[in-house]
């Protein structure tokens, strides 16, 4: 099935048609296509909020099963991507045992960035810059980091607010502080 349309329109718009049999795809196919399209993004997001890989993979599927259940019940979902991320985040926070995964990730990245390498000068400069940025990102609050990662994934303020369960203005504040901090690291 061609899933390109998922980028253009909400699955919710198609779900009613699929339920009523007007579309030549079933609701299951529609959700399966969405799952194939978004599962890696959702998985990465769960890892970034500190869920272990095994659990992240299970929770990712759980989020899409909930999407299927919600659409089957006739729930109107305007923004499928944001909806799935919201469910994944809620599941992730219930399941997350500790920050161990994040800490392990941070250490691994830092080790890699610090490792000596016979690379050309430009690569070394880049690495130095990335390391500074990495340390600056690590010093941000958990919420600020999430806002940055979601923004770079293409979510808008209102969608980030929906996923994190905060107001759009709060997202603006988080992003503003985060970018200020990064800019300071890079330029001051």
């Amino acid at each position: 099935m061609d899933t390109r349309f998922l980028k253009l329109a909400s699955v919710g718009e198609f779900a009613n048609e699929a339920r009523s049999g007007k579309l030549k795809v079933t609701l299951q196919e529609l959700v399966a296509a969405t799952y194939e399209e978004l599962r890696d993004d959702v998985f990465r997001y769960l890892i970034l909020i500190g869920v272990g890989p095994d659990e992240a993979q299970e929770l990712c599927q759980e989020a899409f099963l909930r999407l299927y259940a919600a659409l089957r019940k006739g729930q109107q979902i305007d923004n499928t991507r944001a909806w799935v991320f919201t469910v994944a985040r809620n599941c992730g926070f219930s399941a997350r045992a500790s920050q161990a995964t994040l800490a392990a990730f941070d250490t691994a990245v830092e080790e890699q960035l610090c490792s000596p390498s016979p690379s050309p000068e430009k690569v070394l400069l880049d690495r130095e810059r990335m390391l500074r940025l990495h340390r600056a990102v690590s010093s941000l609050s958990h919420q600020q980091r999430q806002c940055l990662h979601l923004r770079v994934e293409g979510f808008r303020y209102r969608e980030i607010a929906e996923i994190l369960g905060v107001g759009s203005s709060t997202v603006g504040e988080f992003l503003q502080r985060a970018i200020t901090r990064l800019r300071k690291e890079l330029y001051d």
Partner: protein, 398 residues
């Protein structure tokens, strides 16, 4: 430019690179940045920071995340399992299986009694003498109250839908009043203020990034109206309802190509641009105000309002529409020398807001420096047609 030294604040610059809407504030800010070395440098630093983070995310974060530990399973099987388990416990399945199995006589008798009992209850409710209406409640004139001697169920269906009509006007009254007072202080013209009603019937006036003085003014205006609460958010972020469909604007410090093309008709480019952009802003503000009222008070709801509230609403609507038409004419007159030839008669777009947004988009390209992939002659032709369509939309609505 709210900093004492006349330079853009950090939040304003961030708004420029992040919010991306060509509002009046961002247009003037962009003009300032284009002319100010210091602000342009700071803006470039911010853009570079965002780019660096995106690069860091792509080159450092993503490659270092662990892959999914197993191959992704096919979700269809689990969806089918979910279907089966829910069918097993589905109410309809249980009821169906109940009727299909050989039930004992007593069970069927119990069901029969239940059905008869429900009918009797419905009849009792339907034939109960209606209590006298409270004098405080206005009668819903168009609804016939005559009790027909027909079946009790028919009677119930007549009185049940009528009940909400008695309650609604009191809520709508407050909402109309809120719109009325906001209109009086012109808070419905571009101020980031939204009116909504909660499930409990409370009316909320929510403002984002509204100055303290304006907050006080709005609070004072709605204070006398019962059941209204105000909520304020301090943020550099504009409400997205106005930004949703806006296109990205890239900052170009270079000279606007249209400035040279339109030099003969607009020798004072800055002043000419400001007049055009201000008129376009005013048109958009009126179109948004009209749209907001349409959304809050669709025909069905307006028909249920008390006559005085309908009158208030009509006055607000006509004030906005008259001003909308006036700004459209003014913009047309300002732009007339710009059009390469006499424009074709426009097509009346049924959606005035969409027509206004189209004009604003083209105006932002020509006079605000917003990015485009079209050639200047295409853009000018677009403007000519968009303005003609907008004018036709106003005439059709008139």
């Amino acid at each position: 430019m709210t900093e004492m030294n006349g330079h853009a604040e950090f939040e304003q610059l961030l708004l420029l690179i992040d919010a991306s809407a060509p509002t009046r504030a961002t247009r003037s800010l962009r003009r300032h940045v284009a002319a100010c070395w210091k602000c342009r440098t700071r803006l470039e630093e911010l853009e570079e920071t965002v780019r660096e983070f995106a690069r860091y995310h792509e080159k450092v974060v993503l490659p270092n995340l662990p892959p999914a530990p197993q191959a992704w399973p096919d979700l269809r099987r689990r969806m089918q399992e979910a279907d089966q388990s829910s069918q097993m416990f589905g109410l309809w399945t249980r009821v169906s299986s109940y009727f299909s199995m050989p039930a004992p006589l007593a069970r069927r008798l119990l069901l029969g009694i239940l059905v008869v009992g429900c009918c009797a209850l419905a009849f009792t409710i339907a034939t109960r003498k209606k209590p006298a209406e409270s004098p405080a409640v206005k009668p819903a004139a168009p609804v016939s109250r005559a009790v027909s001697p027909a079946s009790p169920l028919e009677h119930i269906s007549k009185i049940v839908p009528a009940l909400p009509k008695l309650d609604k006007p009191s809520l709508a009254d407050s909402e109309v009043q809120v719109f009325g007072v906001l209109h009086e202080i012109e808070a419905d013209l571009g101020d980031p203020v939204e009116v909504s009603r909660t499930a409990s019937g409370e009316i909320k006036v929510v403002g984002t990034g509204v100055s303290a003085a304006r907050q006080e003014e709005i609070r004072g205006a709605v204070r006398a109206i019962p059941n209204v609460n105000t909520e304020w958010h301090d943020s550099p972020v504009r409400p997205e309802s106005r930004l949703r469909n806006a296109k990205s604007v890239s900052l170009e410090a270079a000279r606007n190509p249209f400035e040279g093309i339109l030099q003969p008709v607009a020798p004072d480019w800055e002043s000419f641009s400001n007049r055009v952009l201000d008129e376009s802003d005013a048109i958009l503000a009126r179109a948004h105000a009209l749209r907001t009222l349409e959304e809050h008070f669709p025909d069905q709801r307006r028909a249920r309002l008390a006559p005085e509230d309908q009158n208030t609403l009509d006055q607000i609507l006509s004030a906005h529409f008259i001003a909308f038409g006036s700004h459209v004419r003014t913009l047309g007159a300002i732009l007339a020398p710009v059009f390469p030839s006499r424009p074709e008669p426009g097509q009346a777009h049924p959606d005035m807001l969409a027509a206004a947004q189209r004009v604003d988009r083209v105006v932002s390209i020509i006079f605000g420096g917003a990015a485009t992939t079209e050639t200047p002659s295409q853009v000018l032709a677009d403007l000519s047609q968009a303005a003609a369509d907008l004018n036709a939309a106003v005439e059709a609505k008139r």
